[in-house]
């Protein structure tokens, strides 16, 4: 048997041993996975960011301006020193500020305007028919937004609309739940298929 398949099979079974109960074999596999994943991320970040974006352009291409993010990055390590840990706030503030600056127009476009424009569909179609889907989307969107409108008490027409909104929210939660469970199940089927076909050779 291929050593890779053997390793993957043993580790897969070690993780599934948790279905019986929490046990040392599972804990060991879990710790192993955590360590390997961090090590993997470390290598990828080192290669794709530190080497490709910092070291090569700074020392090979002479882009001296990169000294600034390098220094800001090093300031992050001040978190380990009690006296100077406040210095780590500077790179954090830079990241949060830049992220917030990008987020305002991006959120306005992708999360607000784009969603609104996609929800506005013609109620009457080209051949004169009634577009029930457009009505469902419009009613669903407005009633769900009414549910999240907290500036007025949910009484009277707003209360009734908000209640309708909860029904749409339940449909969304139910559909998302079903979709999530099925995606996890398909992953499970994939793992069982690997165990029975490649690892144990029960299915050929």
């Amino acid at each position: 048997m291929d050593i890779g398949v053997l390793t993957a099979g043993i580790l897969t079974l070690a993780i599934y041993s948790f279905l019986y109960k929490d046990n040392p074999v599972y804990k060991m596999a879990e710790s192993w996975l955590i360590g390997l994943s961090i090590g993997y991320a470390l290598v990828i970040f080192w290669q794709t960011t530190i080497i490709d974006i910092l070291i090569v352009p700074l020392f090979k291409d002479g882009r001296v301006v990169l000294v600034i993010p390098f220094a800001l990055g090093l300031l992050m390590f001040s978190r380990f020193s009690r006296g100077s840990s406040w210095l780590s706030r500077i790179p954090i503030a830079f990241m949060i500020g830049a992220g917030a600056g990008v987020a305002i127009p991006a959120m306005l476009y992708a999360r607000t305007l784009k969603q609104m424009s996609a929800s506005v569909m013609p109620l009457i179609t080209e051949n004169g028919g009634f577009n029930i889907e457009a009505l469902v989307v419009a009613v669903g969107l407005l009633s769900t937004l009414a549910y999240f409108y907290f500036s007025r008490e949910h009484k009277g027409p707003i209360g009734k609309t908000a209640k309708l909104g909860t029904y749409f929210l339940m449909i969304f939660f139910g559909a998302t739940f079903g979709y999530t469970v099925m995606s996890r199940m398909s992953t499970f089927v994939g793992r069982v298929d690997f165990l029975l076909t490649d690892f144990l050779h029960v299915i050929r």
């Binding site: 961090i38 470390l42 380990f80 989307v137 969304f172 559909a175 739940f177």
Partner: protein
Amino acid sequence: MRTRIPLLVCLVSGIIMFAQYFSSHPIAKTVYNGILEWWQIIFAFTMFVGVAAFIRNSLKNMRRKGEAPYRVAALVGLTLMPLLALIGGTKFGSPFLWAFDNMIAPMQSTVFSLLAFFVVSASFRGFRARTIPATILLLTALIVLIGRIPIAELISESFPKLTFWIQSYPSMAARRAILIGIGLGSMTTALRVILGIERTYLRGE
């Protein structure tokens, strides 16, 4: 100084990134790309700080009863990947990629699939059709669950169509409303952060 400098840095970087959106001048694009590069570099350093903190905590907690083997396993795994990359590189066919394909990827997908059992068992205990909203949730979940497996077409041809309709229209309407809420909330928070009203990121040294 400990608060003012970070607030100033946040304000300046936030305004620059916000303002560049309204300009198509090449300088604005250069500044935008440059700051994104800086952001990536600092982010990589935060990752290294996280790794250092993980190693420090693992070494500290190793003294706890019964914890040592797991901490050692994690630290060995952490050291192994950079070592493999150092010895054989990260190209196709390298030991580094072998470890990813045969250890990390199978374990990650197994942990991911493990959650299916917990989601199902938790929902089995929690789902009760006591109220109208709970019944709607339960029915929708059942329809989508059945509608996304091949057997659904054998039960009724309209089952997959109904699943598609639910996901495309009523569910999508609520999803869009949530996204609009998230968008408005994010914009407000971002504005508060840039203006220095929201300062929670300055806590915890």
